[in-house]
């Protein structure tokens, strides 16, 4: 596609359930980022992939959060045993070669997660 695609756009789940959020980056973009946007908290960095490897996982808030990327393309963010504080918009972004090279991130529209 022309832009970064995320699914689902909205997800409502019950506390304790696992959720998977998917990101399909712009074709050819080697760098992929996950951010979390909570009300009043701005954009919180979660994890970064260069190709299929994740050199920076420093932002993952707990071991309930994990992410993988396969084939240098699609990425999945998994949240296990969801808690109410996990409710947020999860944004995925991609760039041609990491921010070091180009500086610009291209964001998807996000996946809004609500944990009841």
């Amino acid at each position: 596609g022309a832009g970064v695609s995320q699914s689902p756009s909205n997800k409502v789940t019950e506390k304790g359930k696992d959720v998977e959020l998917r990101c399909d980056p712009i074709s050819g973009h080697t760098a992929l980022y996950w951010y979390r946007q909570s009300l009043g908290q701005g954009l919180e960095f979660l994890i970064y992939f260069q190709g299929n490897s994740a050199p920076d996982k420093s932002g993952l808030p707990s071991d309930r959060f994990s992410a993988e990327r396969t084939g240098g393309s699609v990425s999945t963010l998994t949240i296990q045993r969801t808690q109410q504080e996990d409710s947020a918009v999860y944004l995925c972004a991609s760039s041609p070669g990491g921010t070091f090279i180009t500086g610009e991130l291209f964001f998807g529209e996000g996946s809004r997660l609500t944990v009841l």
Binding site: L43, F45, E104
Partner: protein, 112 residues
Amino acid sequence: QQQVKQSPQSLIVQKGGISIINCAYENTAFDYFPWYQQFPGKGPALLIAIRPDVSEKKEGRFTISFNKSAKQFSLHIMDSQPGDSATYFCAARGEGNTPLVFGKGTRLSVIA
């Protein structure tokens, strides 16, 4: 620990007025300072960016002013329009391949 501090949280400006949003940082290794614009239901999009070797960059009605010694930078929107109503995020990039760190955002409302 917030690496980029942004103010104000919200801003209301009359149509035709100047909108000013400020950001401050501590890490002197930051070498790239973009501003992102986000409309409701959309992802943020790059608006304008500056590197620390220049003090100002202008693109149309949008200007970044950068003060390296004070470790501050700001976004000025001249002749603000209702279509500029959005949330604006400042950001900074550290050394190497580190991801962008963002401020908490400013919700701008331009009223007619």
